[in-house]
């Protein structure tokens, strides 16, 4: 008999599902009975999930095993090649932490939606809240899934919900096509994932995450030369075959977490309502990919090549997306690229062996990016749904609550001490550095991640200054729409978290002072043996290096990244914190004018901004818009085009069919005959 909070664990996902059913059924048959278009049931359900999640987390902490695992067999295996399919719940420190994050952000987004959707007189609210409820239920189920197949199914369902919600404003031209693109691009990755799941089943006969029969453990035993052998394919040795499996699963991760080159859907997904962006495209669904890697970290840690690839993809995505954030006009576009970039950091952390660091960044990012999106939503309400930053300015005085919350999130995003993002990003970079000193690939990834810090600081504060500082540039900005309590409360809660959440794992401070401050590390180390942080640390295939002494390395790493973040922010301050900021992106040909007229105080920083940063950002942006997007669109148009050619053989004339049929038969006869040696 398990403890009560564990018994109630299914309700964590079931409650939002009930709210989905309520919104759907009552909304369809008796819309008048539905309070606030379904918001109230949604808030109650997600709040219930939050309470239960916290309770489960406490229970996990107090439990002797540090976890709870239960499953039911869904399809029993039959015959020789038997395997069972199971549905199960796995509660351990990692999953309960994620449950708390998801349900917390979900509650706040539901509250915020009251202001963003209800007060703005949107129609179709039951559909909106039904989508949110189904999404939350699927995401929570994904988080506590106990095996890869179950995880895959809910992984697909969150993608489906994302599709429904991005396309919420289906009457406009943009959202439906954005929804379709998001769905298809992530699905493209998911099919690799599906093949990977199938491969894991075929190889290990199980996809369980935990237990002595789980596939990471089996893989470990096989590679260590002990325990049962497994089936491998393609004539590969186990190490190589496991790497293939790891890469296939990584396909799903890259699609869902919007990593290069499957990131193109995320900026388009900003067509959806802003609370949806905050919940799905910043804090939770996009995190699913990274979470999945963390979930089966015991498997990836065995595969050094795959780890290195993850780190490289992460580092590159972090830099690439950050440079593109520099040139965007719309506030949500900046945030979208920033999200891609930050998930790049998480991948970098995971690939570099920083399990705790990446999880830490996952947590802090969920808070500060949800905050930034909701803050942007608040600005958008104020601006009557105009998202162009060049039409804003001077909103600081008009909406102080939003401003200070947004500032807190921006400081966290830019990585300014002591806001949460600093601690987690610093830890990611530190892990990449110490392992990179012994591995050139990781060092390259680290370098890209480090460079991205500068761009992050730059675009973040460019956004802040353009939006809130200076003089209002339009009439709307001079007289913004007021926002209500339901917008402010979530902002305040998340603003506080963005400021302080980093304090749970202050590694540099701990190193310097010797005080034990690594609470998150302890938390993630509390689970069952095979899922703990130090178990993963043992498996990591990297050696650690240091510069001088450990203390010096820590301080150097923190100092460099902080310095870069500050200089990026400073460059933005110089260029954009003026009453009438100029579109520097449009003036590249007239660098001299700009130099002489406005910014002679600090030629170097301006040169850095205008001569290096912006051109680089523009090139990256062009590359993304032209090449990557072009390839994605190209693949689909090539498919359609070749489909259009292929179908032409169906001429409608039955004699031609008979001819093709006969020719097909003859070709088949000859081919099989030649291979079989009949002639």
């Amino acid at each position: 008999m398990a403890a009560l909070p564990f018994e109630l664990a299914p309700a964590i996902a079931a409650l939002p599902f009930v709210s989905f059913l309520i919104a759907l059924l009552v909304g369809a048959f008796a819309p008048r009975l539905l309070p606030k278009g379904g918001a109230i049931p949604g808030i109650l359900a997600t709040a219930g999930s939050l309470v239960l999640s916290v309770w489960a987390a406490v229970a996990v902490w107090n439990h002797p095993d540090g976890m709870y695992h239960d499953s039911i067999t869904w399809v029993a295996g039959v015959g020789d090649a038997a395997f069972d399919l199971q549905f199960g719940i796995l509660l351990d420190p990692l999953s309960t932490m994620m449950l708390v994050i998801v349900s917390l952000v979900a509650v706040l987004v539901h509250v915020f939606s009251l202001g963003y959707m209800n007060d703005e007189g949107e129609t179709g609210l039951p559909r909106y809240y039904a989508g949110l409820g189904l999404f939350t239920a699927s995401m929570l189920s994904f988080v506590f899934a106990s095996n890869l197949l179950m995880a895959f199914m809910f992984f697909e369902l969150v993608g489906l919900c994302s599709w429904l919600l991005i396309g919420f404003w289906f009457r406009e031209p943009g959202p439906p096509s954005a929804a379709k693109k998001a769905f298809l691009v992530t699905r493209f990755g998911d099919y690799f994932f599906l093949v990977g799941v199938v491969g894991v089943f075929a190889t290990f006969g199980t996809t369980a995450f935990v237990g002595s029969e789980s596939f990471p453990i089996l893989a470990d035993q096989v590679l260590a030369g002990e325990g049962a052998s497994v089936t491998t394919f393609l004539g590969l040795d186990p190490q190589a075959w496991f790497s293939v499996l790891g890469l296939l699963i990584l396909g799903g991760v890259i699609g869902k977490s919007a990593q290069f080159p499957l990131h193109t859907w995320l900026p388009d997904a900003m067509e959806g309502p802003t609370p949806v962006s905050a919940l799905i495209h910043a804090a939770t669904m996009v995190a699913a990919g990274v979470y999945l890697v963390a979930r089966i970290y015991g498997f990836y840690a065995l595969l050094p090549q795959v780890m290195a690839l993850i780190a490289l993809v992460g580092g590159f995505t972090a830099l690439f997306a950050a440079t593109m954030g520099v040139v965007k006009r719309e506030i949500k576009q900046v945030l979208a690229y920033s999200t891609i970039s930050q998930y790049g950091y998480m991948m970098l952390g995971l690939g570099a062996g920083g399990y705790v660091a990446a999880t830490f960044h996952l947590m802090t990012h969920a808070f500060f990016k949800a905050l930034l999106f909701l803050g942007a939503g608040s600005v958008i309400i104020a601006m009557h749904h105009n998202e162009n930053m060049w039409d804003m300015g001077g909103l600081k005085e008009k909406m102080p609550v939003t401003y200070y919350a947004f500032l807190s999130g921006s400081l966290a995003l830019a990585g300014i001490v002591p806001f949460s993002g600093f601690w987690s990003k610093d830890e990611v970079l530190y892990e990449a550095l110490v392992h990179g000193l012994e591995s050139p690939i990781l060092l390259a990834a680290y370098a890209m991640g480090l460079l991205a810090v500068f761009f992050t600081g730059f675009y973040t504060f460019r956004m802040v200054f353009l939006t809130f500082h200076g003089k209002p540039r339009t009439d709307t900005a001079r007289d913004p729409h007021a926002v209500g309590w339901n917008v402010k409360v979530p902002l305040v809660v998340l603003g506080t978290l963005a400021a302080v959440a980093g304090l749970v794992n202050m590694v540099p401070v701990a190193e310097v002072t010797g005080i034990h401050l690594e609470f998150l590390h302890d938390w993630l180390d509390a689970g069952p043996e095979a899922l703990t942080a130090h178990h993963y640390a043992d498996l990591i295939p990297y050696a650690s290096g240091e510069i001088g002494s450990p203390l010096l390395t820590v301080l150097l790493s923190a100092g460099v990244s902080l310095g870069l973040a500050l200089s990026g922010a400073g460059a933005a301050w110089l260029l954009y914190d003026v009453p009438e900021p100029i579109r520097h992106t449009d003036r590249l040909g007239r660098v001299k004018t700009v130099l002489f007229n406005n910014y002679y105080q600090d030629e170097f920083q301006v040169w850095l901004a205008n001569g290096v940063t912006l051109p680089l950002a523009r090139v990256a942006d062009k590359f993304d818009q032209g090449v990557i997007d072009g390839v994605v669109n190209g693949v689909s148009s090539v498919s359609l085009f070749s489909g259009g050619r292929i179908k032409r053989i169906q001429t409608g004339v039955v004699s031609n069919y008979a001819f093709l049929l006969t020719m097909g038969l003859v070709v088949l006869l000859v081919f099989i005959g030649v291979t079989g040696g009949w002639f």
Partner: protein, 493 residues
């Protein structure tokens, strides 16, 4: 104590269909101008439900665990033939229920239902055939009524053209099958499947036997609408009355696979043939080409029914994976079971999708994607069911379509044919594009026309609802399906 049923009683599903057909003939001959649609459709429905009931009963009671051979070994009843009998009977039941509304103003009601029953008789015998003679004749029994059914809208050019093409390609293909059978007989001297496996002397006659085997494969490829024997399929499915399209693309296709599974595993065991007559390789080629062509052509269609027709060709490619992944080792049972489970689930989801098209035709909605715009506002329930079918056909985990495809792919990977799975997965990714077009049209687009939906036909709604409910329920209930499919596969390998 227990009363032992005679051996022929194991053929109860088949006999039920024959009896239903005869009763329909009787009704029709007593009153040739009968307008009593309820009586005719009711008889056919009762017949197919009783047949499904018999099949389910026998399956659960374990009748087929020890294979019965009947009538000088020319028929065999085992868990595999019963499994497929259940598939055909369920599809037939849905089709006849839906036809009650679809054929409402049509003459030839009696003949229509009688022909459906006769075709179903042929289908239930196909997986039970243990002799190439019975294979050929039961295949013809399934085909001939289908030709007439496709062309039954005699004043509709599309229907007639579809019937013509189906018939001509069918006649050519069945002749190829007959010629193949004659060559196999020539080499082995027998028509009984197990004896072919033991009697064949490969020495010196490899080529003759090989041509025979591949021609038989061609005959089955026609029935399953596999490339290059598929050319009839897009037109026949598009032109036929939509319930008949459902019947052909679900039941008839499954029958083709059932008979192919039995003939190729029993008469031409992989181990003995792989070196000289590598029919597995041939099936692999067919599978890849069929998947790719079906999906690519479906992606560019303008009309929903034709899109479904091509998608049905694509699905034949997936099911061919079951045959293409045979190795003669322990993995065969798994992958064959995967194929059978997929055909069962496909029977429900694909029938449902075509019946939705039938509903749209009943309402005269029009046939292109644009014509479906905004339909969900008028008919939310039916559109929700259609959405479910579309997502299931694409393999999203909202119903059993995901599970069965997953097991099929898992079986192929387990047998070492990971590249077949990869091709299948890529094609599935593409298929989502065109399936989601339907969903988008129904739910997201604004209506471009006024729908004249006066009534919600009970029969069509009932059949669609049944298909939707079963498709969803088989997701949690996939365990028993899988167990039965594995039993059925175990009967062959």
């Amino acid at each position: 104590m227990a009363y032992q049923l005679p051996g022929w009683a194991a053929l109860a599903p088949t006999l039920t269909f024959v009896a239903a057909a005869l009763v329909l003939f009787l009704i029709d001959s007593i009153d040739p101008d009968s307008e009593n649609r309820a009586l005719l459709a009711g008889t056919a429905t009762v017949g197919s439900l009783v047949a499904a009931g018999f099949a389910a009963w026998f399956l659960i009671a374990g009748t087929g665990e020890e294979p019965f051979t009947l009538y000088a070994d020319s028929l065999v009843v085992d868990s595999m033939s019963l499994f497929f009998a259940f598939v055909f009977a369920s599809v037939t039941a849905m089709v006849v229920v839906a036809s009650y509304d679809y054929m409402r103003d049509h003459s030839y009601q009696g003949e229509y239902y009688a022909l459906v029953m006769l075709a179903a008789t042929g289908m239930t015998l196909m997986p039970a055939a243990n002799s190439l003679a019975v294979v050929f004749i039961s295949l013809e029994l399934a085909s001939l009524p289908s030709y007439a059914l496709v062309a039954i809208l005699k004043k509709n050019r599309g229907s007639v053209e579809a019937g013509l093409k189906y018939f001509l390609i069918g006649a050519l293909s069945s002749s190829i099958l007959a010629y193949g059978i004659s060559l196999v007989y020539g080499v082995s001297g027998t028509l009984l499947l197990p004896e072919i496996a033991s009697a064949v002397e490969i020495e010196g006659l490899t080529g003759v036997l090989g041509i025979g085997v591949l021609m038989i494969l061609g005959g089955f490829a026609f029935k399953t609408a596999s490339v290059p024997f598929h050319f009839w399929a897009p037109e026949a499915y598009e032109g036929a009355p939509a319930p008949i399209s459902a019947f052909l693309s679900s039941a008839s296709k499954a029958a083709g696979f059932a008979v192919a599974f039995r003939v190729f595993t029993v008469a031409f065991p992989v181990e003995a043939y792989v070196a000289t007559i590598d029919w597995v390789l041939a099936v692999q080629i067919l599978a890849v080409v069929t998947m790719t062509l079906g999906n690519f052509a479906a992606a560019t269609q303008d009309t929903v029914k034709r899109m479904l027709a091509y998608s049905s060709v694509g699905h034949a490619g997936y099911a061919l994976i079951a045959l293409a992944s045979l190795t003669g080792t322990g993995s065969d049972q798994f992958v064959l079971g995967g194929g059978m489970a997929h055909l069962l689930v496909y029977g429900f989801m694909n029938t449902g999708a075509f019946l939705f098209v039938a509903l749209a035709e009943y309402w005269s909605v029009g046939r292109t994607f644009e014509d479906y715009n905004g339909l969900a506002k008028q008919a939310p329930f039916a559109c929700a069911a259609m959405t479910l079918f579309m997502f299931n056909l694409a393999g999203l985990p909202v119903g059993a379509g995901f599970m069965s495809k997953y097991f099929l792919f898992a079986g192929a990977v387990g047998a070492g044919f990971w590249w077949l799975t990869a091709v299948g997965a890529i094609n599935s990714a593409l298929s989502l594009y065109y399936y989601s077009r339907v969903v988008k049209a129904m739910w997201i687009e604004e209506p471009t026309q006024e729908f004249a939906i006066e009534s919600k036909p009970v029969g069509l709604y009932a059949a669609i609802a049944a298909a939707a409910v079963v498709t969803v329920l088989l997701l949690p209930g996939f365990g028993p399906v899988w167990a039965f499919a594995q039993d059925a596969a175990a009967a062959l390998v």
